[in-house]
Amino acid sequence: MTRSVKIASVAAFLAIVFIAVPVLISVSGRFDLYYTLTSVALLSIASAGVWLTFYIGRINIGQGAYALMGGYVSAILVVTHGWSFWPTLPAAGLSCAAASVLIGLPILRLRGVYFAMVTLVLTEVARLLALALPITNGAKGMVSIPLPGALSIFGLTIIPDFATLHNARLAFYLLAVALMVVCFAVVYRLVHSRVGKLCQSLQQNEELASSIGVNIAYLRVIAYAVSSFFGGVAGAIFAAISQSIYPSSFTVIDSVNFMLNCFLGGLGYVFGPMLGTLVLYFGWDLLFQTGRFQLLIYSTLMIVLMLFLPNGLLSLAATTRKKG
């Protein structure tokens, strides 16, 4: 792709998510779609994190743990300590990143299925911790979290108080999509810079990477921390939207789904997790009408998809481009 094509497609994408979608929704009156699309945006942020760990050659089924942790950090800071929502957002991301450094240092030495299984277990650990710790309020969870207040810098109100808004759904949508754009821009830049190549070198051969002087342990932890940061931020906004967080808000199923979003979109493509999340989430929602056959049809489609497109949806675009 040439530079101008790239810029045009980014502009088109931004126009769609920030202008076309809100306009279409207000015309059609389907305001419920805001919630769906906000969820897709947030889930794709968390999935982008998982994708990044795939990029260094690790199968991460533990993103649910960080999303849960992010949600709780934000909720506790807002409810118990009276913080405004906005500073809790970076706080949630950073505490997840810090936790992931501590956890990552030992477990990132594991490879293949071992890492996958340990991270899966990590999601369970997070849930059990949320149940057992005194500050998380056990199974009852944290409820009635106030909506995000106004954010102002030097007296200038940048973001209005969500509680006073006529349409808080739109506000959440814009917040989630803006963050999604930023996160994917970060991943895109990361992958297309030399750092991305270094990550790829880890994925392809860690021994060789260390023999050419790459500090593999450091790079792995950095990538994992960025990944967990994304998970924490997504979890924090989720808690703010639903105004509640429970130990079961993010479980093993969610962790598996984050991973599936990446697979479905394609592990070789930065925007794979975004597309994967969109398709999986909407696919699941559309199938709601099939009632009790929902899961059956959903899983059958997934199996069929794996059989015919085992390298993800975006591999289809890549092969047609090659042929054409």
Partner: protein, 259 residues
């Protein structure tokens, strides 16, 4: 000539097995030194110890007087001890040129964050790496394959790529793990010429090898191992006439030692 790399009293035990037993020798600057020995003599373990891929049970390796044992492999590489791999270990999904560019890691002046943000230092680095990579590819005769995905390279070129990756790190001493393994006569001769050219460029080379004729041809000095111990050290001529060496190789065909 001064000693560049010193191996002193190096020992490695795996459980009850002593794979490398109290081995000492040194490599001089701009020298080609080969370590040979029958199968299971401990060559491979010694190689990994020197490259810091294994930690010694006792003893140490020093480069220019500085201890490099017990460090992570990337630290050893940073200090100038860089290894190639016996198997065809490469970044298989990158192009040949990308393989060499990425291997310039140690020469980068910009930080990870700098590369992420695309600072001017990072851009300068990238440009320099590109130029240097192209030079290395020319040197190793890989220019025409620069754009090829590494996994599609024919066998002989893979080994050259392995050496190109090693060179890109700008090492003080390059450790070559069986550079002639699986090569026919012509390929071996080409590799011998290539290694000599590297030395002419000022590189010190330590290689571990089976192929006797090639070792005899290329080495300034040879260290012979047997059952984890050093049994001889000297010039090719001295080694060829050493009784202990002949005894160690007894049972293998004479021509294998190049007699």
């Amino acid at each position: 000539m001064a000693d560049l790399l010193e191996v002193s009293a190096l020992t490695k035990r795996f459980g009850g097995l002593v794979a490398v037993n109290n081995i000492s020798f040194s490599v001089r600057e701009k020298e080609i030194l080969s370590v040979i020995g029958p199968n299971g003599a401990g060559k491979s373990t010694l190689f990994k110890l020197i490259a810091s891929f294994l930690r010694p049970t006792s003893g140490e390796v020093r480069l220019k007087g500085e201890r490099i044992s017990d460090q992570a492999p990337h630290i050893a590489a940073r200090k100038g001890v860089v290894r190639t791999f016996q198997e065809t270990t490469i970044f298989k999904n990158m192009s040949v040129r990308e393989n060499v560019i990425i291997a310039h890691h140690l020469r980068s002046r910009a930080s990870l964050l700098g590369f992420f943000l695309g600072t001017s230092a990072a851009k300068a680095d990238e440009a320099a790496f590109g130029t240097s990579a192209d030079e290395i590819l020319v040197l190793l005769g890989l220019s025409s394959l620069a754009g090829e995905t590494a996994r599609n390279l024919p066998h002989g070129h893979l080994r050259a790529l392995g050496i190109a990756i090693g060179l890109a790190t700008n090492p003080s001493i390059l450790l070559l793990d069986e550079p002639f393994a699986g090569m026919n006569h012509d390929e071996t001769m080409r590799m011998v010429a290539m290694i000599r050219r590297l030395r002419e460029l000022g590189l010190t080379i330590l290689l571990v090898e089976h192929d006797m004729p090639a070792v005899m041809k290329i080495s300034d000095r040879i260290v012979v191992l047997n059952f984890g111990q050093k049994i001889a050290e000297g010039t090719p001529a001295e080694i060829q006439n050493n009784d202990k060496v002949i005894e160690a190789y007894l049972g293998s065909e004479d021509e294998a030692i190049g007699l």
